[in-house]
Symmetry: none
Subunit: 415 residues, 2 copies
């Protein structure tokens, strides 16, 4: 089962856009047991795309194309593939209905060219686009299967995961399946995690252990290759226990689609607790991160962004003399912010962030210095000092993750 | 002058690494007036790489290879290209001296396989590696030029910029250069923009017009191919004026690295105005977006996240009866939020967001319904109703962009 990925788009060849779709699809296909042998990028040029299709058919069973399904004249992938396999394009009714619904709801003007997005290749299976308007197609012709997906990653990803993957699983069942489990860790770097697990990793065969560093967290993917699902799960259980014996203190949850904020919000819900925040350098990023989670209103009612000393005093009622004497980047300020935010909103927990987002230093302290406070009803308020390296965005993200970690540990009483 | 880029590395095909080298090299080559027609990724497999070289030679004058110059057994690019053009590998003395110096300085033990990194293809020009140990080669054989570069981006980039680019400039002097300009638009979709500019786009030759859709905005890249820089800028000026005559109402700024929030913060600074916010469904995302910009403290002091009806009443002092009577997803609520936030923080402008982030409906209104308020000192407060389609994240991002647009237009008095 050989596959290759063809990304279509002149913007890729001009270096304006990175081909992250190929990376995403490669990982997804590997999980399906489908091996990817080539990635190719070609511009919005039907002749060169056609030539590539000829080459690809000679060496691959599955050709995944991404890009060129949009409304404009340079979106030519669908037309080119259809002409190549001598099939016409036909309207997909479901995509058409969705298009009309979109324009009715948003009250934007629908231009004629939008209809192009609802065309699919005749005889194929329409692949619906949950976050966009361009419909995809899965079609097999002369032993080659073509999967056409849109270019924008925020459309391609959900479309693949929700609609294309199940179709591929059905079309290409694997004798041995890959059964995998993702463990997520916060508070330990990739190199330290790998060092702690060195013996396990060096001797891995089946299941395998693949560490992956993401900003401010690390995941481990345990993968067993086996015919029987239950036996696979047992292998993973055993390996997981060995991993947890070494680094379980940093584990916070399972799964690719999980996150520290999701686990934290779930824990707050489970324990019936509410949270608020007072944010200085993070400027709302903590609360906005909570807001990403549907249904967070159960545990989060609101909070404060106090970017300046004046708003810290004015919105939260912190004594200006304390701010003057201790500075805003201080333990005392973080504690006062958390306590006042908690009191004002009558939440069970409050977290506060005050520090130096950079690039300039502040109050004589270098960029990356952050105090994070945690107030809990009936408990002494604490504040922890963190030092984040790298850029402004990383510092603010890092602070938010640490805030979530503090809340999660407090709610679940985990040390 | 046609070029293509071949990246060698199984890790790319497994989706473990993103092919940022191709993006970087494409941009660099475009600046040299060298057009890139293909990117390809192939695994650490000499046979498949050899086959690709045959195809590439048939269509490109310059083949840039990256990856596979390292010390380990799967680093096969150099050997494969050398064998393909029937030339031996020879030691490069400068790279060898550098290797010895490195191991003397770092006191690490030098293993035998490190010597592989100092080999180059006989008859070519050695391309030294300022930040690594693997030497590259530039060599022309039978009208095809091969440039071999290492895989790690932190080695490839300085090596290309310091050592490979000057060699290419000498080898391929360009009569014409590419001069480009990026225009950014908010408030118009890609399909509508393209429809408005249809005549210009259909007749484009030099300069060209390339539209690109990003979430909640569209960019247009105007590119002239011309020998003289000044004449190129004049061509772009003329085309830009034609574009602006049609869609100038949606234009907000220039450049690849620009954004609506950056332009808005700059405008606030320029006019000496401050801004605050009261956020419900966006939950701090607007303020956090402001916080992305270094130096925003000059124009932003803080604000409120009022996710629930209680915090809208309690933090902002909005009459609970108004919330009860009008609902929180209402023009009246958006106006009250903006006015109260502005008054409480004594800012020049306040923006408010209240609506339905979804996926569930709220107060009988569907997900994507958002009221955005704008209060300005000495002006009547307004609120606009927006309908965003797609998912929760898109709805919240869309609301934030519209809020920035309202502020920017108010500050710059643009209709």
């Amino acid at each position: 089962m050989k596959a290759e990925i063809i990304a279509v788009g002149t913007e890729l060849l001009l270096g304006q856009v990175v081909n992250t779709n190929a990376t995403f699809l490669s990982e997804e296909l590997a999980n399906l047991g489908i091996e990817v042998y080539y990635h190719t990028v070609v511009g919005d040029n039907p002749k060169r795309l056609e030539q590539l299709l000829v080459e690809a058919e000679g060496r691959s069973d599955l050709i995944v194309l991404c890009g060129g399904l949009g409304p404009t004249d340079d979106d030519l992938t669908k037309d080119t593939v259809a002409a190549h396999i001598h099939r016409p394009l036909v309207q997909d009714e479901q995509a058409l209905a969705r298009l009309h619904e979109f324009f009715t709801f948003s009250k934007n003007k629908m231009t004629e060219n939008n209809l192009r997005q609802t065309l699919m290749i005749e005889g194929g299976i329409a692949v619906q686009n949950p976050t966009g308007l361009a419909v995809g197609t899965l079609i097999t012709e002369n032993k080659t299967t073509y999967l056409l997906l849109p270019g924008p990653p925020n459309e391609l990803k959900p479309m693949f995961q929700q609609n294309a993957r199940p179709l591929l699983e059905e079309l290409f069942p694997q004798a041995e399946q890959l059964i995998s489990r993702v463990l997520r860790f916060y508070g330990i770097g990739e190199s330290q995690l790998v060092t702690e697990l060195k013996e396990l990793i060096d001797t891995q065969t089946n299941p395998t252990i693949a560490p992956y560093a993401k900003p401010n967290e690390v995941t481990l993917r345990l993968t067993a290759k086996i015919a029987d699902e239950l036996m696979g799960q047992q292998l993973l259980d055993k390996l997981e226990a060995e991993v947890m014996a070494k680094v379980g203190a940093y584990f916070y949850g399972y799964g690719d689609e999980n996150s520290l904020v999701k686990v934290t919000v779930d824990a707050l819900k489970k324990h019936g607790k509410t949270v608020t925040a007072a944010e200085s350098l993070t400027a709302g990023l903590f609360q906005s991160t909570l807001g990403d989670i549907a249904g967070v209103s159960e545990v989060f009612k609101g909070g404060f962004v106090t970017y300046s000393a004046e708003t810290k005093a004015h919105f939260l009622g912190i004594d200006p003399e304390l701010l003057e004497k201790e500075g805003t980047v201080s333990e005392a300020c973080a504690i006062a912010m958390a306590e006042q935010a908690r009191t004002l909103s009558d939440a069970d927990f409050a977290v506060s962030f005050t520090g130096v987002a950079g690039p300039e230093e502040l109050e004589g302290q270098p960029a990356g210095t952050v105090w994070i406070g945690l107030a809990e009803k009936g408990q002494p308020t604490i504040a922890v000092l963190q030092h984040f390296n790298r850029d402004r965005s990383y510092i603010r993200q890092g602070a938010v993750m640490k805030g979530l970690d503090l809340i999660l540990r407090a709610v679940t009483k985990k040390k």
